[in-house]
């Protein structure tokens, strides 16, 4: 369907120090794809959360690995794929506890995924055993033929 498709790829060492770089990469693409500033920040946040999960869980904070962020933009949507080769960790299997419950349990582990789910239109996780793990997050660009409504309406 899509008449054009562009792919951008960033590969960085698996350290939280690189989260700022990852956010700048995502923000630049978000702006180019026509998202508002507020929407762009949320897209960068979702990818930040996915990469943080990879660094802390799949790679257990070992900086000697790599995290890949691949972004594909077509006319209808932007797909963000976060790829690692660490211990398979499917964040979509984590229970989505209410924030009040997370506070009661004094833990914040489920927050990242709550943000990802709230921000993105579709979230899927795929494990290719022995090869890679991939979290794919999709954000629709705009209603077909229409102008993107200003600011953050999609919940």
């Amino acid at each position: 369907m899509a008449s054009f498709e562009r792919t951008f790829c960033l590969q960085v060492p698996s350290s939280t120090e690189n989260l700022a770089l990852i956010r700048e990469f995502v923000s630049a693409i978000g702006e180019q794809a026509g998202f508002s500033e507020n929407e762009t920040i949320k897209l960068a946040l979702a990818v930040d959360e996915a990469c943080t999960n990879v660094i802390e869980h799949a790679y257990q904070n070992e900086a000697s690995h790599e995290v890949t962020v691949r972004v594909t933009v077509d006319e209808e949507e932007v797909a963000f794929e976060v790829i690692d080769r660490g211990r398979g960790f499917d964040p979509t299997q984590e229970p989505a506890l209410p924030v009040e419950e997370l506070i009661r349990r004094r833990r914040s582990g489920g927050l990242g995924l709550r943000l990802i789910r709230a921000i993105m239109d579709d979230v899927q996780y795929r494990i290719v055993p022995g090869q890679m793990n991939e979290l794919r997050m999709v954000k629709k660009r705009r209603p077909a033929g229409g102008v993107r409504p200003e600011s953050g309406g999609s919940q």
Binding site: K42, E100, L111
Partner: protein, 121 residues
């Protein structure tokens, strides 16, 4: 390249104000966590986070507020948030923080919400 995060701490009457500047993510949140913990361990439970220069927060930073809020309140204090920029407020809003935390438009408002009681400890 890496954008930094800074915390400055000061007293405003009997309230401790923590000014957060820059980007609060999984890389920088441990410093924020240590700063809040130091206040609470020192018996200072009336805290205001001045977010006027906070440009970004991810779940790692939000988690610090969540970790310590009950402890501060149980000791008769609170962790109030103030002067959050709209682009950052929307992140708090996604998670429903405004219903759980006392968020004020200015630091002055947040400090005033503590009333005039003496800081314990």
């Amino acid at each position: 390249m890496t954008r930094s995060f800074q915390i400055e701490t000061r007293n405003d009457g009997n309230v401790r104000v923590l000014s957060l500047k820059g980007y609060l993510d999984a890389h920088t949140a441990p410093r924020f966590e240590a700063a809040v913990e130091e206040e609470l361990r020192g018996g200072r439970h009336r805290l205001v986070a001045d977010c006027s220069e906070l440009d970004y927060i991810s779940s790692a930073g939000l988690g610090v507020f969540m970790t310590f809020i009950d402890e501060a309140r149980a000791a008769g204090g609170d962790i109030k948030l103030a002067a959050i920029q709209p682009k950052v407020y929307q992140i708090f809003d996604v998670l429903g923080f405004p219903a759980l935390f006392d968020i004020q438009p200015t630091v002055q408002d947040a400090v005033a919400r503590f009333g005039s009681g003496a800081q314990e400890g």
